[in-house]
């Protein structure tokens, strides 16, 4: 390892000169666009910081005295549970389905992605419906064992399980894509040097997959920080619930924004930590993935253990909640069902357009970071992806306020020149909605693309450069073809995330552009879980298409 590090360091220094040259001569356009994108993406964070011009001493004194400590503790507890749990679920299943052979592997390899199409708030209300005091499970337990009494599942453990079921697919998909593209040379080398399969996994495959896993876990951490729907249904207090309380309850948007800035700090710390652990490591693959894995055939007890574990996870993460939703939908089926078709189409179109835009932005930011290995572009990328950890509604105002301001200025200028009034261009348009989505989900697209680009061996890039391939041509001929899986994963992440997204859609959508998530919100906010089941089923089915497409493509 140490030898590699030295080489790495040498290359790093070398490439600083090159990046300088690149900046001067080769790809200044990329860097400028990349800066510009990051600037747009950090606008909401700037709006948040600007709230400090309006101190809310009264509210802050109250928060510090009464609630802040509990909130921080709850949020940390949640992170401390959800991150290891999603890592365990995601990595183990990723490894089993990509590197081993056991009964049902082909089925599980795509079936275990299905939970990705289920929004966390849907898990929350379904699980509460099944396992809460008045649910069928506790009813049965009380009937059989009256002494058990009531079991409250609305605690850290309960919320952590819900969020882990909802978020583990990030880690699963990322680690799977790492294991699938690792090729077999390094594993074979490890085995030849006398490692057991388990030993080879821990000493070779897992360390080599670290950038992917880290990127997946980073998404999980940010989603956990930003989640409002699920924690609200469990009445579990976190920073997000306090943010909404300050805003909607105490009517102080400024206090809400100031609380949000704490979340930004949380993320910055996580980002720095993550970077620290990966400092100067290189993850290039010498052979390309063209040489596929030889799957490890599990036998005897192991084979069935793998099967049962996969089955259990599939059952709790998908089969059980989905069946409950189907049952509720069936008992509440009415003529509204048809309107959900139109909303499903809206949902899908928004997701697809945003996925295209966001993936493009993520490529630009990742590529400009790759071709300029200095700290500047690294921070550029980090700042650009901060929005992922902000609660959606906060991000939405952070975008809407400056956009509306800009719009109003433009309109005033127009009216000043022509003397006639025109209608707003950005406010309430699909453009601003898609920009907001892109800012929110840039991180989801970036993580996958960036870690795939890390995988490209520098010698290939250098060879291309010596042959005069630079800038756009280099991206087109080397980077894009070599990161196909990563690009695909990124766009599906964004597509499905947009489809599940609720608060931004709610605030910024144009007239008559309801999505399925909006419908679900309308029912759940009134506590009508069973009516929310039908749009939820619609949302999951719509989300399944891209999810299945992704697994099929990556399998090939």
């Amino acid at each position: 390892m140490s030898a590699t590090n030295e080489v790495g360091e040498f290359r790093e220094q070398n490439s600083i000169f090159r990046s300088f040259r690149t900046f001067r001569w080769n790809a200044p356009g990329w860097i400028v666009i990349s800066f510009l994108l990051a600037l747009i993406a950090t606008t909401p964070v700037l709006v948040i910081l600007s709230s400090y011009f309006f101190p809310e001493e009264d509210i802050w004194q109250h928060l510090v005295e009464n609630v802040l400590q509990g909130l921080a503790l709850n949020t940390l507890k949640l992170l401390a549970c959800v991150i290891p749990l999603t890592a365990l679920l995601g990595i183990s299943m990723g490894w089993l389905t990509s590197a081993c052979e056991y009964p049902g592997r082909r089925f599980f390899s795509w079936a275990l992605v299905l939970p990705f199409a289920v929004p966390p708030y849907v898990y929350a209300f379904v699980y509460l419906g099944i396992f809460d005091f008045s649910g069928p499970v506790q009813g049965l337990i009380r009937e059989s064992f009256p002494s058990v009494g009531f079991i409250d599942i609305r605690n850290t453990a309960g919320v952590s399980i819900i969020l882990s079921l909802a978020f583990y697919p990030y880690v699963y998909l990322m680690s799977r894509s790492a294991f699938l593209t690792q090729g077999r040379s390094s594993m074979e080398a490890a085995r030849m040097l006398g490692q057991t399969p388990i030993g080879a996994f821990f000493r070779v495959a897992l360390p080599m997959a670290r950038p992917w896993i880290a990127a997946g876990l980073l998404l999980v951490a940010m989603e956990t920080l930003a989640d409002f729907g699920a924690v609200a249904i469990f009445n579990y207090d976190t920073f997000t619930t306090a943010i909404y309380k300050a805003w909607f309850g105490m009517f102080s948007l400024n206090a809400a924004l100031q609380l949000s800035s704490i979340l930004v700090v949380f993320v910055l710390i996580i980002l720095v930590l993550e970077q620290h652990f990966r400092f100067r490591m290189r993850f290039n693959e010498t052979y390309t993935a063209a040489v596929p894995h030889q799957r490890l055939h599990l036998n005897g007890l192991k084979k069935w253990l793998a099967f049962i574990t996969s089955l259990m996870i599939f059952f709790f993460a998908f089969a059980l909640p989905f069946s409950q939703l189907i049952i509720w939908s069936w008992s509440n089926l009415n003529s509204d069902a048809l309107q959900y078709l139109e909303q499903a189409l809206n949902t899908f179109v928004l997701g697809a357009v945003t996925a295209a835009v966001t993936t493009l932005c993520a490529i630009i930011i990742a590529y400009s970071k790759q071709s300029n290995p200095g700290l500047t572009m690294k921070w550029n990328a980090r700042l650009a992806t901060l929005g992922y950890a902000l609660p959606g509604t906060v991000l939405a105002v952070g975008i809407y306020i400056p956009a509306a301001w800009l719009d109003n200025q433009l309109l005033n200028i127009f009216t000043g020149i022509t003397g006639s009034r025109i209608n707003p261009l950005l406010q309430g348009s699909l453009i601003i909605l898609i920009v907001a989505y892109a800012i929110r989900f840039l991180a989801a697209g970036f993580g996958s693309i960036d870690s795939s680009m890390n995988r490209i061996t520098p010698s290939i890039v250098e060879a291309a450069r010596t042959m005069g391939t630079t800038g756009t041509a280099l991206l087109k001929r080397i980077y894009l073809p070599m990161t196909k899986t990563g690009l695909l994963t990124a766009s599906i992440f964004v597509l499905v995330d947009v489809m599940k997204e609720m608060p931004i859609t709610l605030m910024m959508r144009p007239f008559n552009w309801d999505t399925l998530a909006v419908k679900i919100f309308e029912y759940t906010s009134e506590g009508e879980w069973e009516l929310a089941a039908l749009p939820a089923v619609g949302l999951i089915l719509t989300g399944l298409l891209p999810v299945l497409f992704l697994t099929k493509k990556t399998e090939e």
């Binding site: 009517f251 509604t393 707003p424 309430g428 348009s429 699909l430 007239f511």
Partner: protein, 333 residues
């Protein structure tokens, strides 16, 4: 060809927006849910031919949208639930006063803004519901008395994050002052066997299951459960009948300050308060009408008459932040 694709897309996305704003019709921002307002707008369109366009969302977010859009907002009417939200909208100067004899006649003065910037359109009574098998109504009295030791381990509440409970505590503060209210709320918290629930429905279901025996909810949540199954062991108790009366909140609406179709918006608002609309407006959600000449849904009427608190609902907004801090202090989650 390559360049025309983005151009087409831009035209499409802006086009959606322009089409939305240019058409001559009323535009409503509503925090009241689509399935509760659309039937009324449909009725209005059939009657008058005026098209009503709406977008729904969270009250706070819609309010920020109105503020950010300023004089360019397409919105003519702002509908929201909870008096606190209406109070806040008036305070942020996004609504304009409407002097209308029709509205004054239909909406009692304590259910509208003293300066007529907003008007209540339906009344939500927040009351006590108990398990008939385990509680005798003679043991019940007022909201405050739910803090008595006899309810130890028997009282269930919804979360303090819900505005309905914030309003309830705000009205306590308006009546009793902060110190006395804090004592009451803290005695409630001491009686809770489990953490507060995220919805009124969950609290009611827990009372049915026997986790506790009494809870405080808006009547229409009970109405919904009764509609599904009339045999459930839950009954309504009207508290504070010898005192200030049952806690009432409203859903309501106001004409926006920069309305482009002001007269039309006032007409719609007047119509929403009329006999014709009020029955539907209230009964769609099993609420009470503000217009006293309109009878509630039979299911609701069966709960009997009660004395409502005559306090002006605008007070809830004034005391809401104070109420939240109070609930935080005593550990009401």
């Amino acid at each position: 060809m390559k360049k025309s694709v983005p151009a087409l897309l831009t035209a499409f996305f802006l086009g959606v927006n322009i089409a939305a704003a240019y058409a001559d019709e009323l535009v409503v921002y509503s925090a009241r849910k689509e399935h509760l307002i659309k039937p009324l707008f449909d009725m209005y369109t059939t009657k008058t031919g005026v098209q009503v366009k709406y977008v729904t969302g969270k009250a706070g977010a819609l309010l920020e949208r109105l503020k950010a859009e300023g004089s360019n907002t397409p919105a003519d009417l702002f509908i929201t639930v909870d008096a606190g939200n209406l109070w806040k909208a008036a305070k942020e100067v996004v609504l304009q006063p409407v002097e209308s004899e029709v509205l004054k006649k239909n909406v009692p003065s304590h259910l509208r803004d003293p300066q007529n910037r907003w008007f209540g359109l339906s009344v939500r009574a927040r009351t006590i519901v108990y398990n008939k098998d385990r509680v005798s109504p003679s043991d019940l009295d007022s909201y405050s008395s739910l803090g008595e030791p006899r309810w130890k381990g028997r009282l269930l509440l919804r979360t303090s994050k819900k505005v309905y409970n914030q309003s309830l505590v705000a009205s306590l503060i308006a009546e009793k002052g902060e110190t006395a209210s804090e004592k009451v709320v803290s005695s409630w918290v001491a009686n809770l066997p489990v953490a507060p629930f995220s919805s009124d429905t969950k609290a009611l279901e827990a009372v049915m299951a026997g986790v506790g025996d009494v809870t405080v909810v808006n009547t229409y949540y009970l109405g919904r459960l009764l509609k599904k199954n009339s045999d459930i062991p839950l009954a309504i108790f009207w508290p504070n009948q010898n005192g200030t009366g049952v806690h009432m909140n409203v859903s309501g609406a106001g004409v926006t300050k920069h309305a482009k179709h002001r007269d039309q918006a006032v007409k719609l608002l007047e119509w929403l308060s009329s006999d014709e609309a009020q029955g539907t407006f209230a009964s769609l959600n099993l609420e009470y009408a503000v217009n006293s000449s309109v009878k509630p849904d039979p299911l609701v009427a069966a709960w009997g008459e009660f004395k409502g608190n005559p306090i002006n609902v605008a007070k809830y907004g004034e005391y809401q932040a104070q109420a939240i801090k109070l609930m935080d202090r005593v550990g009401y989650k």
